[in-house]
Amino acid sequence: MITLTDIHVVFSPGTIRERKALNGLSLVIEEGEFLTVIGSNGAGKSTLLNTIAGEILPTSGTIMIDDDDVSQKESFARANSVARVFQDPLAGTCGDLTVAENMALATARGQSRGFKKALSKARRESIRAMLSALKLGLELRLDTPMAALSGGQRQAISLLMATLSPLKILLLDEHTSALDPKTAAFVMELSQQIIREHKLTALMVTHSLQQALDVGTRTVMLHEGRVIFDIRGEERAALTVKDLLSQFGKNVDDDRLLLQQG
């Protein structure tokens, strides 16, 4: 269970550029929930994600992962319970390292790294087996530098990498938005499959209202750094994009949100 209590994040405090990205946000994410997060630009979606991951430390407020207070822990110190897939396919993997080396990095996520060989024969074989399950032919390209792969392939590997070691929450940051429609659909399908199979707790930021309702078990809308709408269960199943828009149209001033309704 992830518990965020009264989180404030202020950028450049005390200056003319001061901006409150999160403004007293509270949120409880139950084990096994799959949250979709929507909101206009500047609503605080990415900041929320970065705060859970530890890339941004909150100005005030607490973040608990189960009974562990991680509020002021840096991202590498909570990597044993948080995995994430970035929006930019280049960001989630190391382009200079090979496919196998990237996978090996993820196997040790959150563990201390010593002088053991990173790519033993046994590990190479298990990596090969996992990659072949993706059916992208990547099992034949273990020693290809990651930079030579397409964006979709890199996102698929990023997802796979997230599941290689135990985690409490998977963070997806608009992870299909930099891909072409066909690849985006594939990566989305793969995400759902992985979350289902591994019974993961996940939080996905999306810009598509339709996707936000179609995918996952709960939807949260942010506005000005706060949760203004939180829906799940049957109520959510009955909700349409139109309802969302008419109810919260005044907050949905983002063209991207509106354009995708077509």
Partner: protein, 295 residues
């Protein structure tokens, strides 16, 4: 080029190949332009020479020199990571500080080691090639060992973490790697290598001098770039080999350019020749592409 010049270039090339491997670690693996090396190379020489003259066993002296180098790299890394200083500036400050420190260590601007015990006359006298070189085979053995250690290290989980931190820090953090600590570790190892080269230089050339470090970073970069331009560097093994061969090749080119009467160059033209070689080497990838397209 006569035999003495030939073996001399080869020996110096082997010594500087260790610097090149250190630079590969900081500059290529961590993408950290570390200017500490201009100070840690003479530091290694100064510590090693002083310790030997003090009566220490040459092997221990060499190891102490490496430790000193590691410490200087660690200090640069601390300034860059903890004090959030610009990488270049952190290295430059350590470098100029080391100039004073090296003078303190030696107590004078230079030190002669002639007739003293060195690791070469202690351990390696059986590897001498009569009437050619007493140093060539020992240096080759040392470079091989040092290169293997670098290779094996970069293949461990820790080494992989270090490479990830240099390649994509945000992703590395997301995988639980403390990227700041990786920079500290990497620069320590890198400068330990550079100081080892300094210690070997002092023991082979028979002296340590406070100004001997000037240009070390440029020579090492020239070696790395020359190696990368001419050899494949897809794997770490290839990249490290390219460092060694690049360093040797660079010494040969310099030696030929400065020793052949046809070019009319003299020893003081070294830096100009180095600059020209680096510019030319950096054009090789573009030329390769050009010819590939033409075919």
């Amino acid at each position: 080029m006569n035999v003495i010049q030939f073996t001399g270039a080869l020996e110096l090339g082997l010594i500087y190949s260790i610097v090149a491997m250190g630079i590969y670690l900081s500059f290529r693996t961590l993408q950290f332009p570390d200017l500490t090396v201009d100070g840690s190379f003479p530091l290694g020489a100064a510590i090693c020479a002083s310790c030997i003259l003090y009566g220490m066993h040459p092997l221990t002296a060499t190891l102490v020199a490496m430790l000193g180098g590691a410490l200087s790299g660690f200090i640069t890394a601390l300034m860059a990571t903890r004090l959030k200083m610009l990488n270049l500036l952190a290295g430059i400050l350590t470098m100029i500080a080391l100039y004073s420190i090296n003078l303190r260590i030696m107590g004078r601007p230079n030190m002669a080691l002639s007739g003293e015990k060195t690791i070469f006359n202690e351990f390696f006298s059986c590897f001498a090639i009569p009437s050619v070189s007493t140093l060539l085979l020992p240096l080759l053995i040392i470079v091989t060992i040092v290169g293997l250690i670098a290779l094996l290290f970069l293949r461990t989980e820790l080494g992989l973490g270090l490479r990830a931190a240099g390649s994509n820090a945000k992703m590395a953090r997301a995988k639980g790697i403390n990227d700041q600590r990786m920079i500290q570790l990497g620069l320590s190892v890198s400068n330990a290598y550079v100081a080892l080269a300094g210690a070997l230089f002092a023991q082979t050339q028979g002296f340590a001098d406070v100004s001997m470090g000037t240009g070390t970073i440029v020579y090492a970069l020239a070696a790395v770039i020359l190696g990368e331009a001419l050899l494949p560097t897809r794997t770490i093994k290839q990249a490290l080999l390219a460092c060694v061969l690049g360093a040797i090749l660079y010494r040969f080119v310099i030696s030929i350019a400065l020793n052949s009467n046809e070019f009319g160059l003299q020893a003081s033209d070294l830096n100009l020749v180095t600059a020209v070689i680096m510019v030319l080497a950096m054009q090789v990838p573009a030329l390769k592409r050009h010819f590939k397209v033409m075919n």
